[in-house]
Assembly symmetry: C2
Homo-oligomer: 452 residues x 2
C-alpha cells in the first residue's frame, strides 16, 4: 500500500506509536485513542495535499442561524425545565393549510401509482408552476413564464447565483442584511478579509432609522451586484415605490444588477410599497427577483421558491444573463421536489391564495402584538407592519450581549443585530413566527423583565 502522502502534522512522528504505517490506516479509531493519551490529536492526523479554499477561510465564525440554534441548545441544557420560546430564526410554526397540505398528500400518494408517478422534472420547474407563478405575480408586470425558475428556496438560489456571477463581481448589500448574501459573496471569492467594518470589497449600504432604512445612494460606491431585500430582513422596513425607483435608476445609471429578495412581499399592506421590483419601470433590464413559499405557506421545511430572470437582462458584452442562469440550473441543480411543486401549484389556486393570506395575516398579527409590546415598554422599535420582523433598538452594548441578556432573563431567543452586519449593532430582531400562545407568553415575560 502506497502511503508516502500520509504526512503526520508535525511534532512526534507517527512511527513512535505504531509498528507499521499500515496499522495506522486500517485501524484509525483504536490508534487515535491511543495517541490522544500522549499527544495533542491534531498533530497525528493524516493530511491530504489539497489546499483549503482561502475564501472559505475568510468566513467568520459559523453561519448566523446555526450559531443561534447552538446557543439556544446550550441555554436549554443549563435550564432543562425552562420553556424556551424562539423569536430567533424566522421559522414558521403553523400547520400547512388544508387545501395545500391535501394537494401534497395527493401528490405523494400519486407517486405510488403509474398515473401519478413522475421522475426527473425540468430543472427549471414544472411548466405549469412556472406559468402559475408568472400569472399570479408577474404577468401584468411584463414577465413571462420562461423567465421564472422554480427552486428549493431563495437561499439555495443565492448560492447558485454567486456561482454564476463568480469571483470577479463586486457586491453591495443593505447593512444590516440577511447573512447569506455576504457569506456567499465571501465563499465565491468576491471579497477580501474581515475586519470590524465588515469584509473588504463588500459595499455596505447602511440602513438605519436615521435614513428611514433606505441607503443614501449618493454615498454608495457602484457595485456589480446590489442585494436588496424588501420588506427587509432583519429591519422589517418595506421600501416605497419612490425609493425603489431611485434604486433602479441608480442601478441603471451604474450598470449594476439588483438581486431583489421579495421573500416577504405578501406581508406588505402599505399600498405605497411595491410587492415586486418589476413594478418599477426599468427593472427588467437591471433586476433579478427571488422569492419563496417559505413564509407565505409555511414551506420552510417543504422547500420551494423561485427566481425571475428577465430576458432583457444582459451582461456588459450583450449576452443574456438568463442563458447562463439556465445553464447553471441545468448543471448543478435538479429541480425542486415534485411533491413540493404540487403544493406550490395548490398555493396559487384561488383556495390556496386565500389560505396563504390567512397564514400571512396570522403572523402579521403576531408582529403587531410584539411591536405594540416593545413600544409600550418604551423601546424604539421598527418594522412589524409590512414584515414579520420587529427590529428593536437597544443601544449601548454589543447586541450579542443583549441577546444573551434577554435569553437569561426571559428564556426567549432573539437574533442579535450585529449578526446581520456592522450597522445591525445596537439592535435585536424579534421574529413574529410563533404560536399565538407563545407570542403572548413572550409578551408577558418581556413585560416582567423589562417593564418599569
Amino acid at each position: 500500500m502506497a502511503l508516502a502522502g500520509i504526512i503526520p502534522g508535525g511534532g512526534a512522528s507517527l512511527r513512535d506509536f505504531t509498528a507499521s504505517r499500515s496499522v495506522q490506516v486500517v485501524d484509525r479509531c483504536r490508534l487515535s485513542s491511543k495517541i490522544r493519551a500522549v499527544a495533542a490529536p491534531e498533530k497525528q492526523d493524516v493530511r491530504t495535499s489539497l489546499r483549503r479554499n482561502e475564501n472559505i477561510g475568510k468566513l467568520q465564525a459559523g453561519y448566523l442561524f446555526p450559531e443561534i440554534a447552538k446557543r439556544r441548545r446550550a441555554h436549554q441544557e443549563k435550564f432543562p425545565d425552562a420553556h424556551v420560546i424562539s423569536l430567533g430564526i424566522g421559522d414558521t410554526t403553523e400547520p400547512i393549510t388544508g387545501y395545500v397540505a391535501d394537494a401534497m398528500k395527493q401528490a405523494a400518494a400519486g407517486l405510488g401509482t403509474q398515473q401519478g408517478y413522475s421522475g426527473y422534472g425540468s430543472e427549471q420547474g414544472n411548466p405549469k408552476l412556472r406559468e402559475a407563478i408568472c400569472n399570479r405575480f408577474y404577468r401584468s408586470l411584463g414577465r413571462q413564464p420562461q423567465e421564472v425558475f422554480v427552486s428549493d428556496g431563495s437561499k439555495c438560489d443565492i448560492g447558485r447565483m454567486q456561482m454564476m456571477f463568480g469571483s470577479g463581481a463586486k457586491a453591495a448589500v443593505q447593512d444590516p442584511s440577511y447573512p447569506a448574501y455576504v457569506d456567499s459573496a465571501v465563499m465565491i471569492g468576491q471579497t477580501g478579509g474581515y475586519s470590524d467594518t465588515g469584509y473588504e470589497g463588500i459595499e455596505y449600504m447602511v440602513c438605519r432609522p436615521e435614513n428611514d432604512f433606505f441607503p443614501d445612494l449618493s454615498q454608495v460606491r457602484p457595485a456589480d451586484l446590489i442585494f436588496f431585500c424588501s420588506p427587509n430582513n432583519p429591519t422589517g422596513a418595506a421600501a416605497t415605490r419612490k425609493q425603489l425607483q431611485e434604486l433602479v435608476d441608480f442601478a441603471s445609471s451604474n450598470g449594476s444588477v439588483i438581486l431583489y429578495d421579495a421573500a416577504y412581499s405578501l406581508y406588505i399592506s402599505d399600498p405605497n410599497c411595491p410587492k415586486s421590483i418589476f413594478e418599477i419601470p426599468g427593472a427588467e433590464t437591471c433586476c433579478i427577483e427571488t422569492c419563496s413559499f417559505s413564509k407565505y405557506a409555511g414551506f420552510t421545511g417543504v422547500r420551494l421558491g423561485w427566481t425571475v430572470v428577465p430576458e432583457q437582462l444582459r451582461y456588459a458584452d450583450g449576452q443574456q444573463v438568463i442563458k447562463d442562469w439556465n445553464r447553471v440550473t441545468n448543471t448543478i441543480f435538479n429541480g425542486a421536489s415534485n411533491i413540493a411543486q404540487a403544493g406550490g401549484l395548490a398555493c396559487l389556486e384561488p383556495e390556496g391564495m386565500k389560505e396563504m393570506q390567512q397564514t400571512v395575516d396570522f403572523y402579521k398579527e403576531n408582529a403587531s402584538i410584539l411591536l405594540q409590546t416593545f413600544e409600550e415598554l418604551g423601546f424604539k422599535v421598527h418594522g412589524g407592519k409590512n414584515a414579520p420582523y420587529v427590529w428593536i433598538a437597544i443601544p449601548g452594548k454589543p447586541s450579542w450581549d443583549t441577546f444573551a441578556d434577554i435569553l437569561e432573563r426571559t428564556h426567549i431567543v432573539t437574533t442579535p443585530g450585529s449578526g446581520f452586519g456592522p450597522a445591525g449593532e445596537g439592535f435585536v430582531r424579534a421574529s413574529a413566527f410563533g404560536h399565538r400562545e407563545d407570542i403572548l407568553e413572550a409578551v408577558q415575560r418581556f413585560k416582567k423583565a423589562y417593564g418599569s
Copy 2:
C-alpha cells in the same frame, strides 16, 4: 430617471428610434418590435456593466441531458405519431413502492396538523435520517451519523462541493463520466478552455474496454480531486475491491481527495465489487462519498441524496474538510424537503429496504434484457450487470451521428458517448430505466433495425 448606464450595443443609436430615452425603458416590448424591423435586435439591447463570468463562458453547448431532451422534442415534432421510447437520460419510470409512498403521504398530511408540522430542519438533514443512513450503509465501515449530510441529490452536492473546493483545485475524472463533474469544475474556474481533447486542466482518466474501464493510474497525473463513479455512469462498469484499493492508495500517496459517486451501488451483485468506498482501508483519510435515493427508490423527482465526509479527511493545513462542508451546507443550502426525508426514512426501514431492492431488481432485469439483445445483434456491449446502463460500442462514426441514426430508425432515444467525455466517442449509452413493455418494444425495434 438616470439612464446614463443604458448603452446601446453599437450600430444605430437608440435615439434614432425613440423620442425620449425613458420611453425605451418603460415600453421595451413595443420598442423592440419597432426596432426589429430596421436593425438586428441584439444591437439595440440595454446592457449592464456586469462582466460575464468567463468560466461560465468556457462551458460547451448545453448541459448534456437537456440537450438530449431538446433533440427528443424536435424528433417528436417531426414524427408526431411516433411512440418515442427514451433510453436516454437515466430517468426512473416505476411508481414509488407502497410503504415508501405511504410514508410520504402521511408526512404531507401531517404537515397540515400541529403535531405533524415542522418548519426549518437542520441544513444537514433530519438527525434520524442521518443515523438511519449511517446504520444501513456505513456504521460497520467506521463512519458516524454526524459525517452523513442529507441533501436534495448528488448533482446538487457536487455543485456545492466545487464551491467549497474553489478555483484552486485541479480535478481528475474518469473519461467517460457523468458530465456534472467536469461542468462544475469548469464553472468554478478549475479549468482552462475547451478543445477536442477536453478542457485544459482536467485530468481525463481514460476508461475503455482495453483497460477493463479502470484507469491506468501509472499514466494519471496527480490531481487534488479525483471524481470516481462506480458502478459507473455511463459505462456500467463496477470497480473491484482490488481496483478501488489501488485507487485509494494512489490518492493517499499523492494526497488527493476522491469524490466517490456511489449512486448506483445497490445495483451491484458481484461480491468482488464494494458498495462503498469506505470498505477500502485508508479511504477515511482521502475520500468523500455521495449517494442518492434517485435510482434505488425512484426519487429522481422527489429529490433526496446524501454525502459522507469523514472527520479524518483533512486539508494540507490539517484542518478538517467536514467543517468547511458544514459551513457551506449551512450557508447556501437549507435542507432537503421534509416530505422527501420522511420517504428516505421509510426506505431504510426493513419494509422499505425490501421494496428498494425490488425496484433495483426490476431495472436490473431491464438491463439484462438490453444487454442480451445487443449481444445477440453482434454489438460489443459492456455494463448492464452491476449497473442500470448498457454501453454499446458503435465505432467508426461520431456518437452524436449514431444517436441521430438510432432515433431516426427506431424512435428510440439513447445518449451519445461523447457527451460523457472524449473517450466516450464511439459508444452510446442505453439506460435500463423504463417500463418493461417499452424495453421489450425497444428490443423489437432494435432487432428490426439492426438485425441481419
